[in-house]
């Protein structure tokens, strides 16, 4: 399509075909909702895209679009950026995490009055969506192993990003501390490098460029063979502060817990700055976010507080372990291996469960026996329970940290009312 520059905005109304597509999508979504099949956003988006395959691009012409992609932290960062940009105008966002083209189309179709579109994108679709929506900024947080039975190999994803984004007009706000992300973004003409940290390093021991073994002195990384190295960042996460390009340290007082969310907020502040929102304003607005799609929510269940934490892969579990309350806080672990989780549970052995030593541990979920063997071999004490209710009954008093992977998390929320 001609003249899709997002910067200019457009008063040109949608074409009749695009309007028809939006209407068709909404009708189908409403039917799907009334049939009790979730929000209907994905099916609605699919129908709309079938009526008008260019609909996503058309909807985006009227918006300043930010895309957010990563293995972990997409949904939370999308929310933080959306909050920050609301300082300057209305935002439309796929806040519930429907992050493939159909879900994105559906979300954008619902925001005709918005100025900004803040869009979470599945890693596999980033290049395609970026081509369609011509974003003004793209936030790239991290890449690590996830759902190995069905997802693309991690470096392959980085390569797809690298190829797909090499000609983008967007400002790419990328984590300089993740070698795969750095490699993916280093072909882009406009990059804002953020030192956002990387706790999980086991997918980046090989140079993404030449395959050499990466050296990692301190926070730095470099390949001695080809010279590829950590790009110098202009933004940095430093403890509880974000350092901006002027070297000013801005305190963060997020409600969201943990190092990873500070990293998400630092990246979000850099994205907001691309749109002219000062760090002070952006960070102040991010404070209001307490839970994202149920994650980090504290719910009372059978007289006990449960904090609900989502961790889908080894990198996510590592970040989650670093934010839970210390022993003797009881911990509930729940793991499923349904389609959306990936059906291969071998990743459990990449998770550093010995860090849970000292916590009373309770294990539930469809694959609780895989987890039991994992914990047994780690030499930890644990109890395998039928469900959350039994675990809550058996656990010593106090708030319980509940860590679950994707579908286990959804089930847990349903059961405890989160």
């Amino acid at each position: 399509m001609q003249d899709a520059s997002p910067q200019q905005g457009s008063s040109e109304p949608l074409t009749p075909r695009a309007k028809l597509a939006v209407t068709a999508g909404k009708v189908v979504a409403a039917v799907s909702r009334s049939a009790g099949r979730g929000s209907g956003s994905v099916i609605g988006g699919k129908v709309a895209l079938r009526v008008d395959p260019d609909l996503l691009a058309r909807l985006a012409t009227h918006l300043d679009v930010v895309l957010v992609s990563a293995t972990n932290g997409k949904t939370t960062t999308t929310r933080l950026i959306a909050e920050a940009l609301r300082a300057h105008g209305p935002v439309v966002s796929n806040a519930l995490g429907a992050n493939m083209p159909a879900g994105i189309t559906s979300a954008l179709a619902g925001g005709s009055a918005a100025k900004y579109g803040v869009i979470e994108v599945d890693e596999k679709y980033l290049a395609t969506v970026a081509r369609d929506v011509r974003p003004k900024a793209i936030a790239l947080l991290n890449l690590s192993r996830d759902q190995l039975d069905r997802a693309a190999e991690t470096r392959m994803l980085a390569e797809r990003w690298r190829e797909g984004l090499s000609g983008t007009d967007a400002w790419v706000v990328a984590n300089a501390d993740d070698p795969l992300v750095a490699w993916a973004a280093s072909s882009c003409p406009h990059v804002v490098w953020v030192a956002a940290g990387q706790s999980w390093k086991d997918d980046a021991w090989s140079c993404p460029s030449c395959g050499g073994v990466l050296q990692r002195p301190g926070d730095d990384w470099l390949c001695a063979e080809c010279g590829f190295r950590r790009p110098p960042p202009t933004w940095a996460l430093s403890g509880d502060y974000v350092l901006d390009p002027n070297g000013t340290a801005w305190p963060m007082s997020l409600q969201l817990p943990g190092r990873a969310n500070k990293a998400n907020a630092a990246t979000s502040a850099a994205v907001a700055w691309v749109f002219g929102v000062p760090p002070e304003t952006a960070l102040e607005r991010m404070k209001s976010v307490a839970a994202v799609a149920g994650r980090y929510d504290v719910v009372n269940y059978q007289g006990r507080d449960l904090r609900l934490l989502l961790a889908k892969n080894p990198a996510g579990w590592l970040e989650t372990f670093s934010l839970i309350d210390p022993p003797p806080t009881p911990v509930l672990l729940s793991v499923n291996a349904l389609g959306a989780d990936g059906t291969d549970t071998s990743w459990l052995w990449d998770v550093d469960y010995p860090r849970l030593a000292g916590h009373p541990i309770f294990v539930i979920g469809q694959r609780k026996l895989d987890l039991a063997v994992r914990l047994d071999v780690a030499g930890l004490d644990f109890r395998v329970c039928e469900d959350v209710s039994e675990a809550v009954r058996l656990a010593p008093p106090g708030r319980m940290e509940c860590i679950a992977n994707y579908t286990a998390f959804q089930q847990l929320r349903r059961q405890v009312g989160g």
Partner: protein, 242 residues
């Protein structure tokens, strides 16, 4: 070989540890310690030399590009081949299994020489990727219970005359040759496509490696409750029609 220490070498965790392969190391280590053995575990990154004096070497699975890099570095290093010549026990999974054979097809679509420690040749399959729970009967000469694992590969591995199939699949694809074989072994070198990790679901394999390394016929029993429960569940899951 020292009498009192079991030397366990984990080969190239930086390249060949994509599918929870550390689990095999952890299970062997744990079960050896439970028998009162001292275990010296060495994790060898691909820019380090492979020690030649280990008792048990574990080589894991990995993605296509790291597999090629690992094969190049192992050939150049030579340590694993020398260890095999010393009679060390070597257990390999998936990409590692292919590397131990004569050749495999690398990420660039070219034939890549392996180490030739196991008489197998691998190529890339043309059919669908093999993904799912597997149930197989291990060669009865090894005296092990049925094999439960999870496969996730597109390889096809043919076994030559000086290696034997490690198992025969009842459910699943195994070597991908259509003849029902899964994995391969000779006196000291083993290869399998099974993830899970395979030792977590089949701790008897870990015990076999320890027995071969120590040259003993039996080991004292250890607590098997959770392993047994997991095995029963996964065997039933494999048998359940999809």
């Amino acid at each position: 070989m020292s009498e009192s220490v079991l030397r366990l070498v984990w080969v190239y965790p930086d390249l060949l540890s994509t599918y929870g392969d550390q689990g095999n190391v952890l299970v062997v280590e744990r079960r050896a310690r439970q028998r009162g053995l001292n275990v010296a575990r060495v994790d060898v990154r691909s820019d380090q030399q492979i020690p030649t004096s280990g008792d048990i070497y574990l080589v894991g699975g990995g993605e296509d590009r790291p597999q090629r890099l690992a094969a190049e570095r192992l050939r150049r290093d030579g340590g694993l081949s020398r260890a095999a010549g010393n009679g060390a026990i070597i257990f390999s999974v998936c990409a590692g299994y292919q590397i131990l054979g004569h050749e495999f097809v690398n990420d660039l679509g070219r034939r890549e020489p392996g180490l030739g420690l196991l008489d197998v040749v691998s190529e890339r399959g043309t059919g669908e990727r093999c993904v799912g729970d597997v149930l197989a009967d291990i060669d009865p000469r090894l005296g092990l219970p049925e094999l439960t694992g999870f496969e996730n590969h597109q390889g096809v591995t043919r076994i030559g005359p000086s290696a034997k199939p490690f198992a025969r699949v009842r459910i699943g694809k195994g070597n991908g040759t259509g003849d029902g074989t899964e994995g391969a072994y000779n006196e000291t070198v083993f290869g399998t496509y099974m993830h899970g990790p395979v030792m977590a679901r089949n701790p008897a394999i870990a015990d076999l490696l320890i027995k071969l390394a120590l040259d003993v016929n039996a080991l004292p029993p250890v607590e098997e409750t959770w392993y047994e429960a997991l095995r029963a569940e996964r065997i039933a899951a494999a048998e359940r029609p999809a």
